[in-house]
C-alpha cells in the first residue's frame, strides 16, 4: 500500500499545483473504522461537493485535511507538501492559503463582526489599524453584509449573517482554497440560494478552489463542478452531478432519486 502511494506521488509530477491530494486515508476510532483507503484529488479552480450519509465521516475527512485530527494512516498532500510530516513552522504559510468556514460559524464571541473578520489579518499581515478595518469592511461588502453590522457582536446576528461573517473571515487573506462545512445548513431556502450564488461568484472572481461538505442537493446542482460521494469508507464516485444521477451505486441512486432528489433534479434542469 505504502509503495503504491509513493509511486503515485513520484510519477505524477505536477502535484505542487494541486490543492488537495489524499491517498489511502485511514481513520479509525477504537474499533470503528471510518475511512479505509480513501483517495481524493481536488484540482485547482474546481468546486467540489462532498456528500454522504450521516456517519460516513465527512467532517472527519475535513478535520484530517485541515490537520485538526491526524489520520490513522495514509497521506495528505496540500499543494504538493505532505502536511502530516510538516513542521509547525512550515505549516503556517500553508495555512494562510486556506480559508475555513465551520458549520456553526465558530466566530469569536468576544469580538465584533469586523474584528472577527480581521483576526487573520492581525496574525499574518502587518497593516495599520485604519486600513485593516477598511479591508474588513470591504470583505463585508464582498460577502453581502450590511456595513452597519460591523460593530455588532456575534450574539446579535442572525444565522445567515453569522455564516456570511464567517465566510468573510475565511476569505480575508484571499486564500486559494476555501473549505465549507455545510454552508447552507440552517439557512432558509432563499438565503441558501443567495449563499450558493455568492460562493459561485466569489469562486469565479477570485479563482477559488472550494471543498464543500453539504447535504443540500440544490447547492450541488447550482454550484458544484464535481461531487464526491462518501460511502463504504471511501470515495465511491466523483463526477459532475448530472453524471452521478445515472450511477448504479444503491446509496447514490437513492440520494438522487429519492423524493428530495427528484425535486432538486427537476429544478436543476
Amino acid at each position: 500500500m505504502r509503495e503504491e502511494i509513493k509511486q503515485d506521488m513520484t510519477t505524477d509530477t505536477d502535484y505542487s499545483q494541486t490543492p488537495i491530494v489524499v491517498r489511502g486515508l485511514r481513520n479509525q476510532f477504537g474499533k470503528h473504522i471510518v475511512h479505509d483507503g480513501l483517495d481524493l484529488t481536488v484540482s485547482k479552480g474546481k468546486i467540489i461537493g462532498v456528500v454522504g450519509g450521516s456517519g460516513t465521516g465527512k467532517t472527519v475527512l475535513l478535520n484530517a485535511i485541515l490537520g485538526l485530527r491526524p489520520p490513522t494512516g495514509g497521506s495528505i498532500h496540500l499543494f504538493g507538501e505532505d502536511v502530516l510530516k510538516l513542521s509547525e513552522k512550515k505549516r503556517r504559510p500553508l495555512q494562510a492559503r486556506f480559508g475555513v468556514l465551520f458549520q456553526s460559524g465558530a466566530l469569536f464571541s468576544a469580538l465584533t463582526v469586523v474584528e472577527n473578520i480581521c483576526v487573520p489579518l492581525t496574525e499574518y499581515a502587518n497593516l495599520s489599524p485604519k486600513l485593516m478595518r477598511e479591508i474588513g469592511l470591504m470583505k463585508m461588502t464582498l460577502v453581502g453584509l450590511p456595513l452597519d453590522a460591523a460593530d455588532k457582536m456575534p450574539s446579535e446576528l442572525s444565522g445567515g449573517m453569522i455564516k456570511r461573517t464567517a465566510l468573510a473571515r475565511a476569505l480575508v487573506l484571499d486564500p486559494e482554497v476555501l473549505f465549507l462545512d455545510e454552508p447552507t445548513a440552517g439557512l432558509d431556502p432563499i438565503g441558501a440560494a443567495a449563499f450558493d450564488k455568492l460562493i459561485r461568484s466569489l469562486s469565479d472572481n477570485l479563482d477559488l478552489t472550494v471543498f464543500m461538505i453539504t447535504h443540500d442537493l440544490d447547492s450541488l446542482y447550482a454550484i458544484c463542478d464535481e461531487v464526491a460521494v462518501l460511502a463504504d469508507r471511501k470515495v465511491v464516485e466523483i463526477a459532475p452531478p448530472k453524471i452521478l444521477e445515472q450511477s448504479t451505486h444503491p446509496w447514490i441512486h437513492e440520494y438522487f432519486h429519492g423524493p428530495r432528489g427528484r425535486n432538486a433534479l427537476t429544478k436543476g434542469s
Binding site: 486600513l131 477598511e134 470591504m138 470583505k139 456595513l147 487573506l173
Partner: protein
C-alpha cells in the same frame, strides 16, 4: 507560486518625460494582505500632489483583494481597471473592489463622527447607574424567588429532585473533604506553633491547647472550609449554570415546563447546606489534630492530656458557635454561584468575568457573615 521569501509590495515613482503633472508609477512585489504592510499609506502620501498618474503593473507579483483595496485607497479615482490590461485575473479583482470601495468609504466617514468627551462621560455614568439599579432589581428578584421556592419545597417535599441533589452532595461535599482536612490540619498546626511560642514567655505554654481549641472550633474551622468551598463550588456552579445558559439549555428546560430553580438552584443549595456542616466538622477535627501533633512534639503532652484539657477548659459552646454559621455560608456560596451563572451573557468573556466575581463575592459574603455573627455572639456574651 515561487518558493522562499516573497518580495513585499513596493512602488517606484518616475517622472515620465515631457508632461509636467503626469507621473509614472511602477508597482512591484506582492500586493497581497500579507505583503502590504505600510505601502498604502506611503503611496498615498507620495501621491498627494500628483494630479495624473500612469500605472505600470508589469512587474507586480501576486495581487489580491486587499492589495486592490490598498491601491484604490492610495490612488482614489486616478486609476481605472484598465491599468491591468493583460492581467485578466488582476483586472477582475480590481474591478470588483473598485465597485464596492465607495460604500466602505461612506461607512468610514459616517462612523468617524463621534460625540464629545463630556457627553460620553455623562452617558457613561448614566449607563453605569442604570445597570447598577437593574442588577439590584434582579438580585432582589432572585432572592425572592429562592425564598419562595424554599418554602414551596418545605411544604411539598415531593418537589425535591433526589438524583441531582445526591450528585451535588458528592461533588461539593465528599470530594472536598481531603482539601478541607489538609488545609485545616496545617492551620491548626500553625496556630499551635504561634501560641506555644508566645505563651512560653509567660511560662504558660500549656494554654496553647485552649487557644487551639477555641480558634479552630470557633473561627478557623468554619471560615477556612467556607473559603475553600467558595473557591471550589461557587466557581463551578457559575461555570456550569453559565455554560448551560449559553447553550440555551435553560431555555430548553423552561419550554419543557421544568423550572430552572427547581432543577438547578435548589439541588445545589440544599447539597451545600447539608454537606458543608459535615465537611466543616471534618475540618475542625483535622485542625484540632494538627494542633495536637504540634503540642505533642514540642511540649511532650500526649493524647490523654490534650483531650482532658480540651474537655475541661474549652467550653462546648465554641463548637456550637462555629457550626451555627456554616449553613449561612453554604447558602451564600450556592446562591451567589448560581445567580452569577444565570447572569452569563452569550460570550465567553462574560463567563470568565462572572466566575471571577462569583468567587470574589462569595468570599466577601463569608467574611461579612462571619463578622455579623461575631458581633451577635459578643452581644450574647458567648
Amino acid at each position: 507560486m515561487p518558493k522562499g521569501q516573497m518580495p513585499k509590495a513596493d512602488f517606484a515613482l518616475k517622472t515620465s518625460d515631457g508632461a509636467e503633472a503626469a507621473r509614472l508609477l511602477v508597482l512591484t512585489g506582492d500586493w497581497t494582505a500579507t505583503g502590504l504592510r505600510d505601502v498604502a499609506e506611503r503611496l498615498k502620501k507620495a501621491l498627494t500632489r500628483a494630479q495624473d498618474v500612469q500605472v505600470d503593473v508589469a512587474d507586480i507579483g501576486r495581487f489580491d483583494t486587499a492589495g486592490a483595496y490598498a491601491l484604490k485607497y492610495a490612488l482614489g479615482d486616478r486609476a481605472s481597471p484598465e491599468i491591468f490590461a493583460g492581467h485578466e485575473n488582476y483586472r477582475r479583482i480590481y474591478e470588483l473592489i473598485d465597485g464596492i470601495s465607495p460604500e466602505v468609504q461612506t461607512q468610514i466617514s459616517e462612523s468617524g463622527r463621534s460625540a464629545s468627551p463630556l457627553v460620553n462621560f455623562l452617558s457613561g455614568i448614566g449607563q453605569k447607574t442604570l445597570s447598577f439599579l437593574d442588577d439590584a432589581r434582579r438580585f432582589t428578584r432572585f432572592l425572592g424567588e429562592t425564598v419562595t421556592f424554599i418554602f414551596l419545597t418545605i411544604l411539598n417535599p415531593g418537589r425535591i429532585r433526589w438524583t441531582p441533589l445526591v450528585a451535588q452532595m458528592q461533588r461539593t461535599g465528599l470530594e472536598a473533604l481531603i482539601v478541607v482536612g489538609v488545609a485545616n490540619f496545617f492551620v491548626g498546626a500553625v496556630v499551635a506553633f504561634l501560641g506555644i511560642l508566645q505563651l512560653k514567655q509567660f511560662g504558660v505554654s500549656v494554654f496553647a491547647v485552649e487557644l487551639i481549641g477555641i480558634a479552630v472550633l470557633r473561627e478557623f474551622g468554619p471560615v477556612i472550609a467556607a473559603v475553600l468551598m467558595a473557591g471550589r463550588s461557587a466557581s463551578s456552579f457559575t461555570a456550569e449554570v453559565g455554560a448551560m445558559k449559553m447553550n440555551q439549555e435553560i431555555d430548553a428546560m423552561r419550554v419543557m415546563g421544568i423550572n430552572p430553580f427547581d432543577a438547578l438552584v435548589l439541588p445545589r443549595l440544599f447539597a451545600m447546606i447539608i454537606t458543608m456542616p459535615l465537611a466543616t466538622f471534618f475540618g475542625m477535627m483535622a485542625g484540632l489534630f494538627g494542633g495536637f501533633i504540634v503540642v505533642w512534639t514540642t511540649l511532650g503532652y500526649g493524647p490523654n492530656f490534650f483531650i482532658q484539657r480540651m474537655t475541661d477548659y474549652v467550653p462546648f459552646v465554641n463548637y456550637f458557635v462555629g457550626l451555627i454559621k456554616v449553613p449561612f455560608f453554604a447558602a451564600a456560596i450556592a446562591l451567589i454561584g448560581c445567580r452569577m451563572g444565570m447572569e452569563v451573557k452569550e460570550d465567553v468573556i462574560s463567563l470568565g468575568k462572572q466566575v471571577t466575581s462569583s468567587v470574589v463575592q462569595a468570599i466577601f459574603a463569608i467574611i461579612t457573615i462571619d463578622a455579623i455573627f461575631a458581633i451577635m455572639f459578643n452581644g450574647f456574651d458567648f
